[in-house]
């Protein structure tokens, strides 16, 4: 065998080189890292008479711990397109950022407003390429020249086009609300009310979702991002006195005073420093 092997630059994507070693380690009793930051989540979207309304909760979990009490799950894709993300937080962030910049470049190239199907195709082909290893489940909604659109995208790359959709661990709780109360031609206020109800259903009935409700309303030529539209989980027991501890609150056991000695003796009239 020649020692000088040809250096092959790494191909893009995932490298599965360590899988064999990981399996061996697992067999020898090593536990894999606890859990990655997920957005055990409730995300919803619905089409109302003038456009699309998206909703999401704001809890990000790392295993059993709430890592972020007030994270943003409704991501910007284009001025007229927003995307809610459930699954591994890093994956949803990265994938939506990437497609968002691709859409911007496409807008510069064509000189036209982005279409929802463009974002849809870019997202689904990326996710399919990674065969489900990019764990991002998305609800994509927006209004373009062809009208309002709402799609769901699954980690393996399949998509659905629906009038109302829910994703995430709280999706069943939210879907129960939608299936019993959704009808066509909802007004803006009715739509926001229904979306908030569905997210609250997820917040209170699913352990992976919690904190506040974010809503985003997209209509033709206009969008409204209502961050923390509802805050149904306020901190209830806050002391009115605040944290002020007067001297004497804590019992002093011993006192020891150590004077700081000067380490450097300043010699007056010494040589000036060289420039």
């Amino acid at each position: 065998m020649t020692k000088a092997a040809i250096h092959v630059p790494p191909k893009g994507g995932f490298s599965f080189d360590l899988c064999r070693r990981n399996e061996m380690l697992a067999q020898n009793g090593l536990k894999p890292p606890c859990s990655f930051k997920k957005t055990g989540t409730t995300i919803v979207g619905l089409i109302f008479q003038d456009g699309v309304i998206l909703g999401a909760d704001t809890r990000a979990t790392e295993g059993p711990i709430v890592a972020d009490k007030n994270c943003e799950k409704i991501h910007y894709m284009a001025p007229n397109i927003y995307c809610c993300g459930a699954g591994t937080a890093a994956d949803t962030e990265a994938v939506t950022d990437m497609v968002s910049s691709q859409l911007q470049l496409h807008r510069y190239h064509t000189g036209r407003e982005s279409r929802v199907v463009t974002a849809l195709s870019l997202l689904k082909s990326h996710l399919f390429n990674y065969q489900g290893h990019v764990s991002a489940a998305l609800v994509l909604g927006g209004v373009d020249v062809t009208g309002p659109h709402l799609h769901t995208i699954y980690p393996h790359g399949s998509t659905d086009t629906l009038p109302f959709a829910t994703m995430g661990s709280g999706s069943l709780a939210a879907m129960a609300v939608f299936e019993s109360k959704y009808k066509e031609g909802l007004t803006r206020d009715e739509g926001i009310q229904l979306v908030s109800e569905a997210i609250c259903s997820g917040i209170f009935n699913d352990l992976g979702s919690g904190s506040n409700v974010d809503v985003c309303v997209i209509t033709k030529g206009h969008k409204e991002y209502l961050r923390n539209h509802q805050q149904p989980n306020p901190r209830t027991y806050v002391s009115s006195k605040g944290y002020s501890f007067v001297k004497g609150h804590t019992e002093v056991l011993t006192t020891k005073i150590t004077p700081l000695k000067e380490k450097v003796e300043v010699i007056e009239g010494g040589d000036a420093m060289e420039e």
Binding site: L120, T159, T161, P163, L172, M175, A176, V177, E184
Partner: protein, 244 residues
């Protein structure tokens, strides 16, 4: 090569002839929902018995009266449910033989079922059911649940199986104390409709059973109205050619 390795492992708790403990359910019923209402208890369940992914039986009565004061609804393995009914029948007959004017109420039956389920679980041979027990005795309404591992509790509204995820949020929002009979039935139907849309093992043939101080009444099977007429369903890919 792999099959030779796995067989000795499987025979760990099984005899040479075959396993003598329940490993998985075969014919299963899906969710049961129960609520307390003004005059007593209402329990709803559909009439489907699935054999894996096939809808094998479409007239399975999964709600049965027990004695004078209770109703039992079960989801999970149907054969285990029939076995439980046999045990309860024995229990009730034995109780009637005392002929002392006293009869087993829902609380007592619930306790009995809990003991049975927990004991079987300890022997690693569970009765694969989630049971909903409701009843009224001497004006006291009672609604409780026992799972296949013996977890038991009492509440104002109960749901098993998929109902845990789909019906419970609706019940938590819309149930209130002293709900009337008509509103109770409407609430149960709302939950059963969502289950019909979203649970693959649900069928559109359900029974609602009512128990009050005066007695038990199990309705005839009927179907719910469903709505599929959204314009988006007609042509889903209208604005997104090539999508699905």
């Amino acid at each position: 090569m792999n099959s030779i390795d796995s067989t000795p492992a499987k025979q760990g708790l099984a005899s040479i002839e075959g396993s003598e403990r329940t490993l998985y359910p075969y014919v299963t019923g899906t969710s049961v929902i129960g609520i307390k209402y003004k005059d007593g208890i209402l329990i709803a369940a559909d009439m489907g018995g699935s054999y894996g992914s096939t809808l094998r039986y479409k007239s399975v009565e999964r709600i049965k009266p027990i004695g004078k004061h209770s109703l039992l609804g079960a989801s999970g393995e149907i054969s285990d449910f029939q076995e439980i009914l046999k045990y309860l029948d024995e229990l009730i007959v034995y109780d009637n033989m005392w002929d002392d004017g006293n009869s087993l109420g829902p609380k007592e039956v619930h306790n009995y079922l809990t003991r049975v389920m927990y004991n079987r679980r300890n022997k690693f041979n569970p009765l694969w059911n989630s049971l909903v027990l409701g009843g009224v005795k001497k004006g006291q309404k009672y609604l409780g649940m026992v799972s296949m591992i013996g977890v038991h509790f009492e509440d104002n509204h109960i749901a098993t199986g998929f109902g845990n995820h789909l019906a419970r949020p609706i019940l938590r929002e819309e149930w209130h104390e002293n709900i009337s009979f008509e509103d109770g039935v409407k609430l149960l139907e709302k939950c059963m409709r969502v289950l019909l849309y979203r649970d693959r093992s649900a069928i559109n043939k359900l029974q609602i059973a009512k128990i009050t101080e005066s007695g038990v009444f199990v309705s005839q099977p009927y179907a719910l109205k469903t709505f599929w007429g959204y314009s988006a369903f007609e042509n889903p890919t209208k604005g997104a050619e090539g999508s699905w």
